[in-house]
């Protein structure tokens, strides 16, 4: 999976699950302040990312440090690398 795939698929999650316009989906966007997600949405974000990428991140402490869309791109890429080791 390329980094472009990660970005495209993550953006699809935000567009489909949270109805966020594509023009707002930039790496520096804060998922709380800029994209309007709240605590309930984070639960759904985890479920949607697990489904989209076939990963298990529900109990991963690193999820708590995510603030921006770019953080998610990086986190998913890292998880993919760890799974492929």
């Amino acid at each position: 999976m390329t980094q472009e795939d990660v970005i495209r698929m993550t953006n699809e999650v935000f567009a489909d699950s949270f109805e966020i316009p594509k023009e707002k989906l930039v790496p520096e966007a804060n998922i709380f302040n800029d994209l309007g997600l709240d605590s309930l949405d984070i639960v759904d974000l985890v479920v949607a990312l697990q489904k989209k990428f076939g990963v298990v991140i529900r109990s991963d402490e690193r999820v708590r440090t995510i603030r921006s869309l770019g953080d998610i791109y990086q986190f998913i890429a890292t998880i993919n690398k760890e799974m492929n080791k």
Binding site: F18, D38, V43, D44
Partner: protein, 410 residues
């Protein structure tokens, strides 16, 4: 102890006949049936009834995602109906957030569609981690009340006296009590229901649904008719704004009617069979609470769902109390039984009948069954002044509710 006077100042309806009070009334005026064949229910083994009265869900995305995410189908209906009722009553945002306005809306259960989805998601792998965070909020029993209150910013009493097909009328009765006792000045009250095969199936396995008209859906349900064969499920929401009379008068609100009587009771006898004695008791106590006599009532909007047993019991009770003079009609033939919403949608229609001095007849009633005779069935449009009307609702669990409204000549 003196009670405060309670009036109705706003109406909103999402119904199988259309998504506004205007469309509801237009459908009734046109003697239109919203019942249709639901072919995909043939996929359910054992389902006999293939007819229903669905709502055309539209404009749901006008509700912001943050509110909509916790709403199942019935909560969306309730929110849309509440918006219409608030607009009709000309309530301000200050009214909604004052703490003096309550929100009492209930349904048979939380969204059946959402409950089914939840089990489909976690069922196969018994995996709870796949459940969306807001699924529970769509499924809980007070989903409609909670969602409408959250959406509108209501900080007064929020309650949901869920009682299946008496849900809406019990909600209106509770809202009435809260105002007349001085606990609230305003209440947004009513019921909501979402159509789903699991709901229809619950009646179908009891042989309470209509199944002889699957190819001619407009001919069913047939309340009080000799050829009736059961109820047809519908869906939607009816919401009324109730208001303390002086509060309404001071702000120059339009007043549809005054609520003058209400009663609800159990039959203590059977969970699914209507009981004529309990219905008689419920109606008599509601009349007693209103300080009028049975002869003062100009129109009865019956519960009559077109089940063999229920219609017979209600007809007996009406005959016993009112004799054969008071006009009676059921609206189930137009839009099926909207279950938890029926008490509110049909009360709204009855209030418009009062306003127009016109009674809509029982659609599909062609020949009253001998068990249902001896009461004044309205079988064609009747122009008649209605000063006082009575609305009945009966529910699984042996629950009865009756509400009485009087034209308010403020």
């Amino acid at each position: 102890m003196s009670f405060r006077k309670v009036v109705i100042t706003g109406l909103g309806a999402i119904s199988p006949l259309g998504n506004s009070v205007g469309e509801l009334i237009s459908g009734l005026e046109g003697q239109k049936s919203a019942v249709e064949c639901i072919a995909e229910w043939e996929n359910y083994k054992g389902m006999r009834s293939m007819v229903a009265a669905p709502v055309r869900l539209e404009n749901e995305k006008l509700i912001p995602r943050h509110n909509r995410r916790s709403m199942g189908r019935l909560s969306i209906f309730a929110t849309q109906a509440a918006q219409e009722a608030i607009k009709d009553a000309l309530l301000s945002s200050e009214d909604l957030t004052s703490g003096k306005l309550g929100c009492i809306i209930s349904s048979t259960m939380g969204s059946a569609e959402s409950i089914a989805e939840a089990f489909e998601i976690m069922g196969p792998g018994k995996d709870l981690s796949l459940l969306p965070s807001t699924k529970f909020f769509q499924c809980i029993s007070h989903s409609a009340a909670m969602n409408v209150a959250q959406y509108l910013g209501i900080t007064g009493v929020v309650m949901a006296p869920c009682s299946a097909c008496a849900s809406a009328l019990q909600s209106i009765g509770l809202g009435y009590d809260l105002i007349r006792l001085g606990r609230q000045d305003l209440t947004i009250c009513g019921g909501a229901e979402g159509l789903h095969p699991s709901v229809v199936g619950s009646f179908d396995i009891l042989y309470a649904t209509s199944s002889n008209y699957n190819n001619t859906p407009k001919n069913t349900p047939r309340p009080f008719d000799v050829k009736r064969d059961g109820l047809v499920c519908g869906e939607g929401s009816g919401i009324l704004v109730l208001e303390e009379y002086e509060h309404a008068r001071k702000r120059g609100a339009k007043i549809y009617a005054e609520i003058i009587g209400y009663n609800t009771c159990g039959n203590g006898d059977h969970v699914s069979e209507s009981n004529r004695d309990a219905i008689i008791s419920c109606i008599r106590q509601s009349i007693a609470s209103s300080g009028i006599s049975a002869q003062d009532i100009d129109y009865i909007n019956a519960h009559a769902t077109a089940t063999i047993q229920g219609d017979k019991e209600e007809a007996f009770a009406i005959r016993e109390i009112f004799g054969g003079d008071t006009p009676v009609s059921s609206l189930k033939g137009y839009m099926g039984h909207t279950l938890g919403a029926s008490g509110a949608i049909e009360l709204i229609a009855s209030l418009i009948m009062m306003q127009k001095s016109r009674i809509y007849p029982t659609l599909n009633l062609q020949e009253p069954d001998k068990d249902c005779q001896g009461i004044n069935h309205v079988m064609k449009l009747m122009d008649k002044s209605i000063n006082i009307l009575l609305k009945n609702c009966f529910a699984f669990g042996g629950i009865n509710a009756t509400l009485i409204c009087k034209k308010c000549l403020a």
